[in-house]
Symmetry: C3
């Protein structure tokens, strides 16, 4: 493990093929660690990590926390479920304080796009973006790519369909940047109101016809539908959404061929994905979760210098 050095992981936009490949290769090593009887290494002993979650999260926070503990780091958690900041302090002051306490790595999820980048410019701790607004969620995309690499092999030429609410999805954005860099073709499919205009500039084809898109792809990455989109008037009803864009067994059979089925979770079963698809033969949804811990271990390891061996 050598070569690429990085101090922060803010997003996959602009990240080189070499850097992405190094993270994925390192994650492979950690996948092996996770299979050991004692899945723990002392690599980050004495490294202090703060998980700052300014938006509710269960699985991403737990995944990072387990990755950190399996690397033997010291961990402190901070959660603020409401959008107002602590006692009116600015986020920058909060972060500067945490830095002054000699925290080495800050994992941050924030409702505002760009919050991790803002901090990375201003404090010396390493920043890992665990999701910022509708912008990027790089470790999710990296775990998706690790899953595909394991399942299929090379990503070059792979045809990936991202299905659902593209406009509000940091998962979609990070996947598009990463998959395109590794040579995959990406199509997005979803209702017009949930489709951002700039996506075509990212080298991605848009379609609103799910059947056609399914006939084309090798992989379907189904996004979670935020149920509040209905209240916002962006979709007519869940039932209508399900009829046009829900992934069902019947639709997959019509499209023919084996597809790899992914979902970042948590799933709305019966809305964007049916249970027999989510739990069916092509689904790698739970494997994504396992690979997520390995990817986060790799990112934490590399960002902390990656000099100590994985014992």
């Amino acid at each position: 493990m050598n070569g690429v050095r990085f101090n922060h992981l803010l997003g996959l936009e602009g990240m080189s093929r070499e850097a992405i490949t190094e993270i994925l290769d390192s994650a492979e090593a950690f996948l092996e660690v996770l299979e050991r009887p004692i899945p723990k290494v002392p690599s980050l002993r004495g490294v202090t990590i703060a998980n700052l979650f300014f938006e509710p999260s269960t699985r991403t926070r737990i995944s990072f926390e387990l990755a950190e503990k399996r690397l033997s780091a010291d961990v402190t958690n901070f959660s603020s479920s409401n959008s107002s900041l602590v006692k009116g302090e600015t986020m920058l002051d909060t972060a500067r304080n945490i830095e002054a306490m000699k925290v080495d790595v800050v994992v941050i999820r924030h409702f505002a796009q760009g919050a991790p980048h803002f901090l990375a410019d201003r404090i010396s701790a390493s920043i890992i973006n665990a999701g910022d607004g509708a912008h990027e969620h790089p470790t999710q995309a990296l775990l998706d790519m690790l899953t595909l690499k394991h399942q299929i092999g090379a990503l070059d030429g792979l045809k990936v369909l991202i299905l659902g609410d593209i406009a509000h999805s940091r998962v979609a954005r990070s996947n598009i940047w990463g998959l395109r860099t590794l040579g995959a073709s990406v199509k997005v499919c979803g209702p017009l109101a949930l489709m951002p205009r700039e996506v075509e500039e990212m080298g991605v084809e848009i379609t609103h016809d799910l059947n056609e898109a399914l006939a084309w792809c090798d992989v379907v990455n189904v996004l979670r539908l935020q149920l509040e989109r209905q209240q916002e008037g962006l979709i007519p009803s869940l039932r209508d959404y399900q009829r046009s864009f829900g992934l069902t067994r019947k639709r997959l059979e019509m499209a023919g061929g084996d597809k790899v089925i992914m979902h970042p979770g948590p799933m709305n079963r019966g809305v964007e994905i049916d249970s027999d698809v989510a739990d069916g033969s092509g689904s790698v949804i739970l494997r994504q979760v396992t690979y997520g811990v390995a990817v986060r271990m790799a990112v934490l390891y590399l960002i902390s210098g990656g000099e100590r061996i994985i014992e």
Copy 2:
């Protein structure tokens, strides 16, 4: 330590005398560990435990967490104080995800009866029931039994009175199963509206006369009165409840003989138990708390294979 193997601890209903005895014997060993200058053993190093609390809890969560850390396990906590699930995801999906992150043991408290059993049938991690609805709370009953064993010796033939809101009490239910299996006699006493019908089928005598019950018993386990029972119309007033079923020094003196006084906490002093009883000579209430950590260490140790020695 050998013999009985178990993958889950869901309840004491149906658990054999041999299994209960093995847990209590193992807990004795951990009580000794707790007396050491450094009360910590490496038994569960590298074992990952998730505490999932879908109902508010302070003492049970802290007791499990301390037990886990003194066994050198890696611990992650998840609390959801409201009854709706995370972002609408099913509890099964939440648990499957946590399993996919290579969590070895899930400690779960849930407002719904049977939730731990439901998970145990569906995921491969070991499940420990930390309280499910009004159903079972096995580690509480085990710590109650360990306390009695230490205080009195054999449980065979011991006369235990459980006093209070039997209908809504998982503590009562688990105690009845466990105590009966170890040969104790159990009576329950409380108002008619808080007395479940099926309790007689569990081999337990019902009485509504506290004085008579106190004259009979060696041990009184006083249950917490949930103050909302009054709003539900199940008791006329706290004052009336206290007059008929509150454990007072005067009542104990009338009954004669030394009684062991227990309470699972948290106590409503002046309602179900008076302070001079709670803090008096027969009270083992704080000892229960200490033994609780040892019992939870024993359960975690045995459930994780119990193969590594307690160093």
Copy 3:
């Protein structure tokens, strides 16, 4: 490190010069630990610490937690943001329970003045006051003094101005006790309505003229203005407060001479302190945060016996 022994840290009122000096000297040693590549010592291995926060806190809780983990202690957190106690249990019962779980040290923040003292009289665990009502916040004052010692040297004869809402400030009270014991002169400045009468009995001069006070002092410790003071009618408006008592670059220049600028955080930039002062050359505000971790390590170390060497 030897000499003074203490079981609790409840406040700086009545604490001897010798004891304060020992804590500050010990904190110097831990400052060095924090500069190491692996800033962690095994001093408190096997020691269990419970952080009980009955009032919201981010930075103090995280600072204690990092100090504890860097001493290799086992840590459990309990937060209750509402003032009613857990399920109606008394704070004493909560604390007794935690003690029964063999917790060695309790770090407590409580909205009620005297809560830590009440517990210290009744349970055997060591109690550290992390802030009680408007009474004391001893580790904050200790870190302020450590910062000054580092920045300036001896505290004897130093002129310290505490600026702002003195009446509601535990930071002010603890600083006054500690600074006076170490030989510093203290003046307080703020609006009449936020000035407690008893402060003069503490050997402190009161002024309402900020310019005069600034001309006198070497150090300004700016207190946070709780924004609810306006709703309580204690200050006319934030704008008025800022005009009379806000620390601005202009005011500091008028006063002449270099001043050390301190603030316990979190800051209301533009209210009690301007950004160019907070981030300016005399500011030691972030250094205070770093020293806070070292001071808390020292207190925890000494309170736990201080016998094991800092390896």
